[in-house]
């Protein structure tokens, strides 16, 4: 949490001077008309992204030279907050003079960095990074329109955190390599989830196909199933009889945990394994009854047969269970 989070504060104090200036006086605000584009010998592209209902909408105008694919002029209009207006303005500025292919490579991170006063201080507070993402998306929309292709074709990867532009494959790799178990760790390693936070879990302002918590759960399941496979592999090299004593104890333990203990606990009892010995034909498992099982009449009859049968069935038909 930390002191800053406890007090909170006015987000506007966290804007860079550049953002403030651009919001107050955007440089590339306006439209490009058909006639204007024609006079330049350029093709006019008008792309819309977002919607008023989402609280953010931006329209990008490009005059593109069809011979060189160069963006000769770039303007914008925006329905949005200060960050949205300033970042749309910056985005329009960055497009100027670039080819359409170059412009598509501009990310919201580039836009945010261009609005910084000093290289190391973010231009906007974390929760406002989201507002610069739209500027990135509208470029793709404009480029797709110019090239007559689908917007998705510019997206090479699935992006989980739009603000920090962290892809699904990067996240999966980083989580695995570093054995990450919390969202905070993911954020420390990748910056994913550090900004608008809607990629962390459902319920944020943006709905996602996959969230950081899903990736953690996916990795957790993977680890579990790997562990289970490993457990089986212990015996897979041979039969229960051929296992080392440690492997045997583990295998019996697991079987007791999964198939027997619950049944004993329900009656207020329990058991523990004392030893396992190979006695010629038989494999003898010495146990001690605990709780209500200790001294129970059926501990040497019904309960014992039940335990023995389960272990015989799951591990080896020659198992004998001997309560001590």
């Amino acid at each position: 949490m930390g002191m800053d989070s406890l007090i909170g504060g006015t987000i506007w104090d966290e804007y860079s001077q550049k953002v403030t200036d651009l919001m107050n006086n955007p440089q590339n605000m306006g439209e490009i008309t058909e006639e204007e584009a024609e006079a330049m010998g350029a093709k006019l592209i008008v792309a819309d992204f977002g919607a008023e209902s989402c609280g953010d909408a931006v329209r990008l105008y490009w005059a593109v030279d069809p011979k060189t694919d160069k963006i000769l002029k770039s303007k914008f209009k925006s329905f949005g907050c200060g960050t949205a207006i300033a970042s749309s303005d910056t985005m329009a500025e960055l497009c100027k003079g670039k080819t359409v292919d170059e412009a598509v490579k501009i990310t919201n991170i580039d836009v945010e960095k261009a609005m910084r006063d000093t290289p190391d201080t973010p231009a906007v507070p974390p929760q406002k990074m989201h507002c610069s993402v739209m500027a990135y998306d509208v470029i793709k929309k404009a480029a797709a329109q110019y090239k007559g292709v689908d917007m998705e074709s510019f997206e090479e990867e699935v992006i989980v955190c739009e603000c920090a532009r962290v892809s699904l494959s990067t996240l999966r790799e980083v989580i695995r390599l570093n054995d990450l178990t919390t969202v905070e760790e993911i954020t420390d390693y990748t910056k994913a989830g550090a900004f608008c936070k809607s990629c962390i879990r459902p319920g944020g302002h943006e709905e996602k196909d996959i969230y950081l918590v899903d990736l953690l759960e996916e990795y957790e399941k993977e680890k579990m199933s790997a562990a289970a496979t490993l457990g089986n592999e212990g015996g897979a090299t041979g039969t229960f009889k051929d296992m080392t004593i440690v492997q045997k104890i583990k295998a019996v333990d697991k079987t007791v945990d999964e198939n027997i203990r619950q049944m004993l606990i329900m009656d207020g009892g329990d058991m523990e394994i004392l030893d396992i010995k190979d006695n010629g034909e038989n494999i003898d498992i010495y146990i001690r009854y605990l709780g209500a099982c200790n001294g129970c009449a059926s501990a040497s009859t019904g309960t014992l047969f039940a335990i023995e049968n389960i272990l015989k069935e799951k591990l080896d038909p020659n198992i004998r269970v001997l309560p001590i």
């Binding site: 819309d48 008023e52 609280g55 209009k77 925006s78 907050c81 200060g82 949205a84 302002h205």
Partner: protein
């Protein structure tokens, strides 16, 4: 020029209130629960303040008014106490609130919902008001509490608490109302209708921050909020906030004295200001004036995202508010606007101006001038404004 038009968020401390509080910081600082002369120095002022607070809401002496730290605390207390007493014990399993309650009610309701309580969220109509009938329709014999605010903080809409109180009484269901936006703006008398719990907070009526209260009708006891010593009748232990209570008492007295001014003069200033705002094209308000607290305007400027309007107002020294979009951390649209069913494109355009008895005509004239310029500038930037088709369905009535 600096203009403060966010009085539903908090208010300036009245200088008389401040003067009354001051001696209790440095001169008369004794813990009122001690057994020496320093303690007794504080008693007369505490007694006087409590009497003013009781008088302000017309609470009989046998009822309790427990001083808390804020309205959020009071609201949490009622709902959680009902949960522990009625729901956790299996006596009841249901509460009713409105879907536009303050977050301190909604979030607490959601919390106890996660612990197994059923919660009905009552809808509001196109004017932003709850229909009392919906309370009748949703009460069951398992309902442990109805909690509906007196007046809405966003729109100023006044809810039919008297009628809801009657319905609750008929069904013998406890009724809680969050009256934070009512004190000092409307006459509040707990004896004129059936209310069992009533929340209010000093800083909304020119008192200090950090002082709230919960009125509890006799016989409607709650479990203690803070266990410990026996302060506040054992309801809420902890050393009494003497300057705060003294401040709330004085603020309550001032609020009662200024009520006529608030209801007539402030209302008149608000109405004139609103008339002028509505002369700007494509502007909308939700709740009709006569159904609102006298100081509040929630107005939408089509094509202008709320926060960018706040930006321009702020630059000109004007403090207003928006519950919409980027201004708050959750980036959600104004919840009331959405609940009303306003067209989605308008939900992000709402700005709230809330006046007080300190607001002057000169300030409003200046604000009007700034708003007009901001509208022109921001609609010039807007990618959506000029494209709004003629006769666009707003879901709201244009009041001009």
């Amino acid at each position: 020029m600096k203009v403060y038009l966010d009085n539903n968020a908090t208010t300036i401390v009245d200088p008389h209130v401040f003067a009354e509080m001051e001696p209790y910081f440095v001169q008369r600082y004794g813990n009122p629960n001690s057994l020496h002369l320093f303690a007794s120095e504080t008693h007369p002022a505490l007694k006087d303040a409590m009497e003013k607070i009781y008088a302000g809401i017309h609470a009989p002496k046998e009822d309790s008014v427990v001083i808390t730290s804020c309205a959020t605390e009071s609201n949490n207390w009622v709902l959680k106490s009902i949960y522990f007493e009625q729901i956790l014990t299996g006596k009841k399993n249901h509460i009713i609130i409105s879907e536009v309650e303050h977050p301190s009610v909604i979030a607490t309701a959601k919390f106890i919902e996660s612990m197994g309580c059923k919660v009905t969220y009552l809808p509001i109509n196109h004017e932003g008001i709850i229909d009392a009938q919906t309370v009748r329709d949703t009460i069951t014999d398992k309902t442990a509490l109805v909690s509906v605010m007196w007046a809405n903080n966003e729109t100023g809409a006044i809810f039919p608490v008297e009628e809801i109180g009657e319905i609750c009484a008929e069904h013998n269901v406890p009724f809680h109302t969050d009256a934070v936006q009512a004190i000092g703006k409307l006459p509040v008398d707990v004896q004129t209708f059936n209310v069992d719990y009533l929340t209010f907070s000093a800083h909304k009526f020119h008192g200090p921050k950090g002082v709230g209260a919960l009125y509890i009708k006799k016989g409607k006891e709650l479990i203690p909020l803070l266990h410990g010593g026996s302060q506040m009748g054992g309801y809420r232990s902890g050393t009494l906030n003497v300057p705060g209570i003294v401040g709330m008492g004085k603020a309550m007295e001032q609020a009662v004295d200024s009520l006529d001014y608030e209801m007539e003069d402030v209302r008149e200033m608000r109405d004139t200001f609103e008339d002028e705002l509505l002369k700007i094209e494509d502007t909308f308000v939700v709740t009709p004036r006569e159904k609102r607290t006298p100081n509040t305007i929630l107005i939408s400027f089509r094509g202008i995202e709320g926060e960018s309007m706040l930006w321009d107002l702020n630059r000109a020294g004007i403090g207003a508010s928006t519950g919409s979009a980027c201004a708050s951390e959750d980036l959600e649209a104004n919840s009331v606007m959405e609940a009303i069913g306003a067209a989605e494109d308008l939900a992000h355009t709402a700005i709230r101006f809330s006046l007080s008895r300190y607001t002057t005509q000169e300030e409003l004239d200046y604000t009007l001038d700034v708003v007009r310029k901001a509208v022109e500038r921001l609609r010039g930037i807007s990618s959506t404004y000029s494209y709004a088709p003629e006769g666009h369905e707003s879901g709201l009535d244009a009041h001009h």
